[in-house]
């Protein structure tokens, strides 16, 4: 066979390579952000029980440790009623505070019920590092919303 035939074969080979590279890129770019369903969990805390609080946060850490490595995590702790004492005590209790901070570093969100703050005359500043975006209007309504959105409900 003459040169053009080889050129054609070469061109086809190049095409194969281009296709292969594209396929690799496609795999690399298409997949990474979320593999399958993220793990969506909301922990509900509404009692003032220091032991329960610490145990709940430990379970939460175990929960994270037990998840698939590549699985996206969307985990929230929702506190209302007497449960907000957790974040009040975190201001003075270093163990509790570091546990909370460690979870926050793993993207766990700590949400506080705005109704509770109002009815108990508390401000955000009375709690450990609560920002505006961490305050929801009603804790129960938020729990409803999250469950409807596919969050698994856990009441420790």
């Amino acid at each position: 066979m003459q040169r053009p035939g080889w050129l054609l074969a070469g061109a086809l080979l190049l095409m194969l390579v281009a296709g292969g590279v594209s396929a690799l890129l496609f795999t690399a770019l298409g997949k990474p952000p979320v593999v399958g369903e993220p793990l969506r969990v909301v922990y509900h805390i509404n009692t003032d029980a220091p032991d329960l609080h610490l145990n709940a946060l430990r379970s939460l850490q175990n929960h994270i440790d037990g998840a698939e490595i590549e699985q996206a995590l969307q985990i929230k702790v929702l506190m209302h009623g007497s449960g907000i004492h957790l974040l009040q005590r975190a201001r003075s209790d270093p163990d509790l505070r570091s546990t909370v901070n460690a979870l926050k570093r793993q993207d766990v969100r700590f949400l506080v019920c705005g109704n509770t703050l109002a009815s108990r005359g508390l401000a955000r500043g009375d709690l450990h590092e609560v920002e505006d975006r961490d305050v929801v209007r009603s804790g129960i309504a938020e729990l409803t919303r999250l469950q409807r959105a596919g969050y698994t409900y856990i009441k420790p």
């Binding site: 074969a9 979320v34 007497s82």
Partner: protein, 271 residues
């Protein structure tokens, strides 16, 4: 019969090709360009074309192994139609293939970005949680279920006699109904009390009877239910019947009711 089977056998690959052609990758003009080339220039083009399609299909569907037959036939085709047209066809196929690969890649990237962006918003702006969760990010199935007129069904389960918690629960229920009214969706709330929490609905001990009465009147879809087993136990202990508020209803068992409602798809919250 055997014909049917044969065509049924062929169909999957056709479907794959069609899905590929109609779907995310190829705008029709690109395909028609390929077709024009094929009809203008004969077999070698057709081989290129087929190979091109196969290559892209195997790119989009990684599990489908690229068939070797196309390659095997190319030298033969090249042998028949040598010279410039063949080379041009090869180069054209290369360009289109690369472009196609790029397009696919870019689309993949866009999809990924969109997902990342949504999750980012979701974790950032709490006010957006509902909208985002309902929409793109969250459970697709619930979204469908609520598509017509959304009805939330929430069971609030109490077994503790903390009056402050009860007052805050009533706040929360009011808040939920206000929100539901704002957003124009239906809301069924059922409060189930058992054990010490029956205080909430006991005629002789209710901490907020007027409030319960008012709320029951304001929100017809709100039900206050008390566990009949708890009440009969209390009646035995006290040696006299224990009445509940007129707005309250009895359920056979608080726990059973909670389980039943969850099985029916109600959202469950243990207060």
């Amino acid at each position: 019969m055997s014909n049917d089977r044969l065509s049924a056998k062929d169909r999957p690959s056709e479907e794959i090709l069609n899905a590929f052609v109609d779907g995310e990758f190829a705008p029709e003009d690109r395909l028609s360009t390929l077709k024009t080339i094929a009809s203008n220039e004969d077999l070698s083009r057709e081989v290129c074309d087929m190979h091109q399609l196969k290559e892209l299909v195997s790119m989009a569907y990684e599990d489908v192994p690229a068939r070797q037959t196309g390659r095997g036939r190319q030298p033969a085709a090249g042998g028949r139609l040598l010279r410039f047209p063949a080379v041009a066809a090869g180069v054209l196929a290369l360009v289109i293939g690369s472009l196609g690969g790029y397009e696919l890649t870019r689309d993949g990237g866009l999809v990924g970005d969109a997902i990342a962006q949504i999750s980012g918003e979701e974790s950032d702006a709490l006010a957006l949680v509902a909208a985002v969760d309902d929409g793109a990010e969250g459970a697709v199935v619930p979204q469908k279920a609520f598509a017509a007129t959304r009805t939330d069904q929430v069971l609030l389960h109490l077994n503790d006699a903390d009056t402050l918690a009860m007052a805050e629960l009533l706040d929360d229920i009011e808040s939920m109904y206000r929100e539901a009214a704002d957003q124009g969706h239906e809301l069924n709330v059922q409060v189930v009390v058992h054990n010490n929490a029956v205080d909430l609905l006991r005629a002789d001990r209710a901490p907020y009877p007027e409030r319960v009465a008012n709320m029951a009147q304001d929100y017809p879809a709100l039900r206050f239910t008390a566990c009949a087993q708890t009440l009969s136990r209390l009646a035995r202990e006290k040696g006299r019947p224990v009445d509940i508020l007129p707005e309250a209803e009895l359920v056979d068992s608080g726990v059973a009711e909670a389980a039943r409602r969850q099985a029916e798809g109600w959202i469950y919250i243990k207060v």
